[in-house]
Symmetry: C2
Amino acid sequence: MLYSKVFGKTVRVPPKEAQMISYKLLHQAGYIRESTAGRYFFLPLGQIVQQKIMKVIKEEMDKAGAQEMVSPVLHPLELWKETNRTKTTGFELMTIKDRRGADFALGGTAEEMFVDVVRKFQISYKDLPFNIYQFSTKFRDELRARGGLLRVREFIMKDAYSFDIDEKEFKKEYKKMERTYTKIFERLGLKTVIVESDNGYIGGEYCHEFVVESGIGETIYLTTEDGSYAAHQEVTKFKKENKNLNETLQPMKEIDAKRGTTMEDGVQLHKKPLWQQIKDVLFVDENNRFILAIIRGDFDVNEIKLKHLSGAIELRHATEEEIKNILHSEPGFISPVGIREIIDKKNILIVVADDSLRTIKNAYGGANKKYRDLLNINIDRDYKPDIEGDIALAKDGYISLNGKKLIEKKGIEVGNIFQLGLHYTTKMKNANFIDCDGKSKPYYMGCYGIGIGRTMATVVEKYNDKYGIIWPESVAPFQVHLIGLDLRDESIRSKVFKVYKVLEENNIEVLFDDREGTNAGEKFSDADLIGIPIRLVISKRTGEKVEYKRRDEEEVKILSAEEVLKFLISN
Amino acid sequence: MLYSKVFGKTVRVPPKEAQMISYKLLHQAGYIRESTAGRYFFLPLGQIVQQKIMKVIKEEMDKAGAQEMVSPVLHPLELWKETNRTKTTGFELMTIKDRRGADFALGGTAEEMFVDVVRKFQISYKDLPFNIYQFSTKFRDELRARGGLLRVREFIMKDAYSFDIDEKEFKKEYKKMERTYTKIFERLGLKTVIVESDNGYIGGEYCHEFVVESGIGETIYLTTEDGSYAAHQEVTKFKKENKNLNETLQPMKEIDAKRGTTMEDGVQLHKKPLWQQIKDVLFVDENNRFILAIIRGDFDVNEIKLKHLSGAIELRHATEEEIKNILHSEPGFISPVGIREIIDKKNILIVVADDSLRTIKNAYGGANKKYRDLLNINIDRDYKPDIEGDIALAKDGYISLNGKKLIEKKGIEVGNIFQLGLHYTTKMKNANFIDCDGKSKPYYMGCYGIGIGRTMATVVEKYNDKYGIIWPESVAPFQVHLIGLDLRDESIRSKVFKVYKVLEENNIEVLFDDREGTNAGEKFSDADLIGIPIRLVISKRTGEKVEYKRRDEEEVKILSAEEVLKFLISN
């Protein structure tokens, strides 16, 4: 391709307020342009990269037996109502009415659509399993988009949906997709960690994110050094060591406690360890239920775990007024002890205790009154939670269940795989196949996503230097960046055009900077910015030879055209 | 691919109310499924065909120097306001508001978007010309969708936009695209006629449709037998022969005319030829202007031409009440003579005359009163039109301007190319490049579209028989349909799987019907329905040989596996 005619050339200035290196470089090098916040044009060079990423994904998906198809972008809203997802994802789903009054969702993910097309067919166990996928535009009505391709409102996603006869068969497919994803990202130059994570709005029982470690990532995860365990912070399980279980139970007593409202204030006043204090956090859910989360003082509450355990969809912190006027308690002095007796009776209160409260005895904490604390609080004897389980937030340095130290890391989620089980196929009517016993049974499902633009940005985050992008070969828009200098000299001009022609004839992808009137310095810095793996230069100075340099190496070699060609073809 | 695991197998029953053969066959053979009216799933086999069509288009577009990129699906509505297209296309444009209150259009075509991305760059004449295109989902809020892929509400379109320094350069690009499109459709097995047509909502001065002749097409066009002229009926020009211009003008007189309201009633009463009668058709436009179209009695009014000549966007016929109460005329007796004197003065009336009225003298027609007619009406002397020009509808048998007989035909529009000129680049701010004289000038534009699904349906309309589809090789989902029979016989089973493997190893695209428990008859009729070019059968009966049959031929050949392979590879 002749760079003189490429639409979307380099610019020197990054976009205003661009923070991420990937956004700066993809903009400056002419790969993408913002349309409105969170919506991007992929310029010709960017589209080539995007297609190369999709090609790798398609090859590996097809190799794994998956079948590409495509669904409409506008999903009939009734389908989303069948699974009750218009509510749970209301915050980001975009809907539209057509001129005849029919309602549609702009696809954000396509579980319902794929179940819907599958149930249009009479399918028997002989036709199963299958895994069907698409590359299609997805919409997320995010309140805040990050500049660049990492958090956008519109993007191409590869989303796959597997249909199996049962859990056992499904697990094989899930493992296969795990291997396939690892392979895909490897080919794209990305080292991924497979991280247990939360299902969020998708439904189902377990899922994993493919995360590339990166300081600018929004995924916080914990992993053991040997990688034997890795989980999103939201779901990380860890060991809660026993503290003072050998103590004998002391009688509970209420005492004066003129202190501030923080945990540290309690520690100071009572001269007891933080872990012996009870931490009380009061939430309100989407149905106006009060949810009192209690946990050992040295831990924090993990809201995701709390949601799962309590069945809440949305949680917010209770206000001081609610604590005083409805709970009849006191901010900073809330206690599970006797709380059910004092709350305004019209309200629902659920006390959710972290299991860490089983690791301590004779705890201390508030007494639901200002400046009054309780000492020697003991679970079962002094208070009884409605729900007990794990609601603790894992942190760096904690110990995994398999006994190893957890390290907290940040990363970019580039893909995810979900077990869906029977979640959709039991909610949606007739989502059944005929099993070998002649009975009608719901499909056992999984789904598998990769965001293309985000993957592209992640590659740039990992492969760059101060001069620009350094594309891995698998996704580089071209293999060779050919620079012609001194083009007004006819003999050089014809030489470089001849080399260009020979490269093209040999199916070597080449971007040829044929611009006249652009100086050598500009052409070199453009080449560095654009980041194509191999740079060739032909000029007065190179004479009959060609200057060869890899983008990821310093060394410049002077070779004959034949040597270069032989080398490129053999590669 | 193993047919046993393909998602989307054949069904025997066509969709309810399906009329078009392409819809029936694409549904029955497992290529597409309707989601909601006008929105389709492309099933795995259908997606392969769709991709093959896109591949051909991409290859030819790239060969012509065009560059693929992609724009967001949601277009900021402000852009459509800049060109005033929210109004002119309001009838089919879908709009949506995001949660922050920003308005977007769901792209139906992307002129504004492409101008918008281009104006984000500083572009000089040296960077020009370029032609940038995308494959992307387009939305049309059609009131009525036809069953099948010919008129849909959502489809993938290849839309290209060219940017040139001036008209002269643009014309080269337009011609190049004309050649490129002809080549594309040729490769897809479609013979296209290039038909002058109306710009509709796109703007600009001229455009052409690529039409495939077909009885089920919605495009009516007229063409000379030698193809030297072809035009959409909406814009066809033709010769209007002089009739009685050698007559001398007679004095106009008003007479009793107790007749019905049709043209034929006038002919009967006055015993004069139809062509000598004046036909008056009264319309009302979107601004409530009355537009009186007058034309020689043997012609009909072409509303598209009338719109262009009168500047109206929408036209409807006036009601009887409007004719009586506002025009103070009489249905069936309207006349241009004296009409301006009798119309209610608050209203605007524009008299638009077809130039055919210059081919007759001493015409007759109504007198704006019930049962009264005028004889010897003559233009200029008795009435003066506000606008004069061509508003006549061409019909089969008329004579083209180059003196040849016009034949009326129906066809399917599969592509179109538009001159846009400065239409968008002068309406939108800063849509300029820097010319070699240092001055800022608007781009001279063109645009070029192909609907992928419609092209696919058109191929099926042209290539089918009573058993199913007969795909041309360029778009067939696979080259070979391999049928294994008697698969429970282990020796046959291993033989056919071996052939399958060899074919795959040699990169021959093969769909292998490996189903057990499906009989030969079903497998053969499925193969005919699906329509892959070459069918191979291996069974007990074929022994060491392979049965070879082309879908488009009757003859069945018995060949050795080696012969078949050699033949397929050489092809």
